[in-house]
């Protein structure tokens, strides 16, 4: 039944956090990187992380300013404070990069992720899945007599928790966007 083999993770946040626990001395940071939307810019950023052995937990990117062709990349990464400083310096010195912001330290910031979750079930399980989706304020965006696709937005932990609850009910597929983040309050980057 559990096609995705999701294990209940040990967590520092909640019983349902499936993300790997941080290693000793490591921190998780959310970085916002403003770049010129030129060809290859994403390959450059990803190449920097793989070439220097940095972690990427999630990465999202889209053009946010169509007039001046700027994209915003949101990267969730982990590392020791010294490695995080290196990551920021390495990103900042790249030619197409305008600005690097560490939303975790500059925050407070809002972090949201969107997920599409497909669950196939009938009978009691189907009722339970729908009930739980209401608890999580998920939307049903597709349905058949034996399946749902839920759309869910929230902090990554919330999505983890929802996915875990769906597992025994007939979880089939999960698509997640990765984190988008923005600082709270009136000030921009």
């Amino acid at each position: 039944m559990n096609a995705l083999r999701i294990k209940r993770g040990s967590s520092s946040h909640s019983a349902y956090n499936l993300r790997p626990a941080l290693k000793e001395g490591e921190e998780r940071r959310t970085l916002a990187v403003l770049v010129e939307n030129e060809a290859g810019v994403l390959a450059r950023v990803i190449g920097l992380f793989s070439g220097r052995g940095y972690n990427i937990e999630s990465l999202t990117v889209a053009e946010t300013d169509h007039v001046s062709h700027r994209s915003r990349i949101t990267i969730v990464t982990t590392g020791t404070p010294a490695v995080i400083e290196q990551i920021k310096a390495q990103l900042a010195r790249m030619v197409p990069v305008y600005d690097v912001h560490d939303l975790t330290t500059e925050g407070p910031a809002v972090e949201r992720e969107m997920a599409l979750v497909k669950v196939a079930c009938t009978g009691e399980a189907r009722v339970e899945a729908l009930r739980l989706s209401q608890v999580f304020r998920a939307n049903v965006v597709d349905t058949t007599l034996e399946s749902f696709v839920f759309e869910l937005t929230g902090a990554p932990e919330k999505i983890d928790a929802f996915v875990e609850l769906m597992a025994p009910l007939g979880l089939v597929d999960v698509a997640r966007t990765g984190v988008a983040a923005i600082t709270r309050g009136p000030k921009g980057m």
């Binding site: 010129e36 290859g40 070439g51 310096a89 390495q90 010195r93 030619v95 197409p96």
Partner: protein
């Protein structure tokens, strides 16, 4: 409205407007339109190398010896991939070079077309930045941007990939000052608050040391002048990395010699025991730090660097100053003078007494011979016989490179071209070609090992064609000497594949190239042989047959601290533990 031109004309015009006088290159199908335009003009000289790697190293030699960017032109596919080692070398050593590569026409990209390679993909991690230009209208702007990126901030290699149809198509030309602006804006002025902290440390230092590096050369002659002012007015001792040799003169009173793995005892001990370290344009490379947790444990560290990512990368520093060396030093010296030009002179005198004690160890001593030429002796004689000339030295990679750093003295920056970060065997011959092109009347010597020499010796043909009187001074030990030394010290004397077997007769080889060959194997003949080389007006391959099993000392084994230095063969037995062998 500016003039319409073809893409190929735009390339040549943009190079002219950027002040380029020389292009090192090799033609092929995908760059023929550009070669056609080069043919029709006389302002830019094209130097036909014999291998695209040679073009890249020649451009590096040109750049390092002039302070101006070097330019190379290569065809698509194999032309571009052959240049990759040179681009990587330039990235590691912060050398500004601009590589123009041809590409298959835009409508064939992605088709596995003839001589197609994903050049921007392949070179993305080995350039500071690269561009694939798919629209002729953008070409001029991108070329101007490329020169800007290569030469501003921390210098480095850039590549512009130009599909063949883009070279044929017409578009208006854009002048350098009209090129679109990039987000890239490196910081060049140091933070005054940090500079004040640095000056306070200088004023109170009791055991100071100036640790200078390639960034001083990158910053230009003014930076070297300021470094000398600072050192001589404070009376502080100066050491330098392999990349910084010449920024402070070897004859200067503060000079301790090179530091690091094969640096002098006095330089490394002073680094270890200092209380204030002033790092100027150097990057705490692992050849310098040895074991990082034992690196200069008691010092306050000032670090001047234009690249914020160099700061706190390997070693945490107390006073980071992001900026260009010449600006930061100018501000620092001005403030220090304004505050009374104070130092703890009596303490610094004591420190010098200690340093002189270390110096009395005479760490570069070696046992000379009257039967066999010792490589150190050969370099001492080369130094003695050329010291009065404005001399440019390139090297290959290996023991000979380290001995050259130890035994040749440099009085000015931009006179010493070596592959430090990547350690590229095969760098020296083409680099010497590039240097000689830039300085046609100067004495240019490549100190080589026979194995490295053979990696790019085809460039002797370039030297002969363009009448470049480069002197190839080969310390021939018939061994991959540096490898042999590591095998002796770290791998139980199992000399796996570290012979140079079936070596050519270098004198005949020289003759085959059409240049002069000299062979010398007797210390008594060495001076005359070197003079013969220097007096010959054309290129020379000098086969200096040296002791086969000489080791290069001093040496800090990988993973050891500065004060655990090996001084000579006697001290080496069992000195390197198995753990050290995993390090490079």
């Amino acid at each position: 409205m500016s003039r319409e031109m073809t893409g190929a004309q735009i390339v040549v015009q943009a190079l002219k407007d950027q002040g380029v006088d020389t292009v090192f290159g090799y033609p092929g199908g995908a760059v023929l339109p550009i070669y056609d335009e080069l043919f029709k003009q006389n302002d830019i000289r094209h130097i036909l190398v014999r291998h695209e790697q040679g073009a890249a190293h020649a451009a590096e030699g040109y750049a390092r010896s002039t302070g101006r960017p070097g330019v190379l032109l290569v065809t698509s596919g194999p032309g571009a991939t052959n240049a990759v080692t040179g681009l990587t070398d330039a990235l590691m050593d912060s050398i500004p070079i601009i590589c123009l590569s041809g590409q298959v026409p835009t409508f064939l990209i992605g088709n596995d077309a003839f001589q197609e390679a994903d050049t921007v993909g392949i070179t993305r991690p080995c350039t500071k930045h690269n561009w694939l230009v798919k629209d002729t209208a953008r070409l001029a702007g991108v070329i101007h941007q490329a020169f800007y990126v290569a030469t501003h901030g921390r210098p480095g290699p850039v590549l512009i990939d130009i599909p063949k149809d883009v070279q044929f198509a017409m578009a208006p030309y854009v002048k350098p000052d009209k090129a679109p602006r990039l987000p890239y804006a490196p910081r060049v002025k140091g933070d005054p608050e940090r500079i004040r902290e640095a000056v306070e440390l200088i004023e109170n230092a009791q055991r100071p040391i100036i640790y200078s590096g390639g960034g001083v050369v990158n910053s230009g002659p003014e930076a070297s002048r300021l470094l000398r002012e600072l050192a001589d007015e404070t009376g502080f001792p100066v050491t330098s990395t392999l990349m910084g040799l010449g920024c402070y003169p070897a004859s200067g009173k503060g000079w301790l010699g090179m530091l690091g793995m094969h640096g002098t005892f006095e330089a490394n001990m002073a680094m270890h025991d200092c209380d204030v370290m002033i790092c100027i344009g150097a990057r705490f490379d692992d050849r310098i730090t040895g074991r990082t947790d034992a690196f200069s444990p008691g010092s306050k560290k000032i670090h001047i660097d234009i690249d914020p990512s160099s700061i706190n990368k390997n070693i945490l520093v107390d006073v980071p100053i992001v900026g260009d060396v010449k600006n930061v030093l100018a501000d620092m010296i001005a403030l220090w003078r304004e505050r009374g030009a104070r130092t703890r002179a009596d303490r610094v005198d004591n420190w010098w007494r200690q340093i002189k004690e270390w110096r009395s160890v005479q760490c570069l001593r070696y046992r000379n011979s009257d039967k066999i030429i010792k490589p150190q002796y050969a370099l001492q004689r080369l130094q003695a016989l050329t010291a009065d000339r404005d001399r440019y030295v390139t090297t290959e990679v290996g023991q000979h490179q380290m001995w050259a750093a130890q035994f040749l003295g440099f009085e000015e920056p931009n006179r010493w071209m070596t592959s430090g970060g990547l350690g590229t065997m095969g760098y020296g011959v083409p680099a010497s070609v590039g240097v000689q092109i830039a300085h046609p009347d100067a004495l240019v010597i490549n100190v080589a090992g026979e194995a490295s020499f053979m990696m790019n010796m085809q460039e002797m043909s370039t030297a002969v064609q363009y009448r470049l009187p480069v002197k190839q001074f080969i310390l021939n030990n018939e061994r991959l000497g540096m490898v042999r030394q590591w095998q002796q010290l770290l791998h139980g004397e199992r000399y796996s594949a570290s012979w140079s077997e079936a070596l050519p007769d270098f004198v005949k080889l020289a003759e085959a190239f059409g240049c002069k060959g000299i062979r010398c194997d007797d210390p008594a003949d060495l001076d005359d042989a070197i003079r013969e080389m220097l007096d010959h007006p054309g290129p020379v391959i000098f086969d200096c047959v040296v002791e086969k099993h000489e080791n290069c000392f001093p040496m800090i084994p990988s993973g050891k601290a500065h004060n655990e230095m090996l001084l000579g063969d006697a001290a080496t037995e069992g000195a390197i533990e198995a753990g050290g062998a995993v390090l490079v």
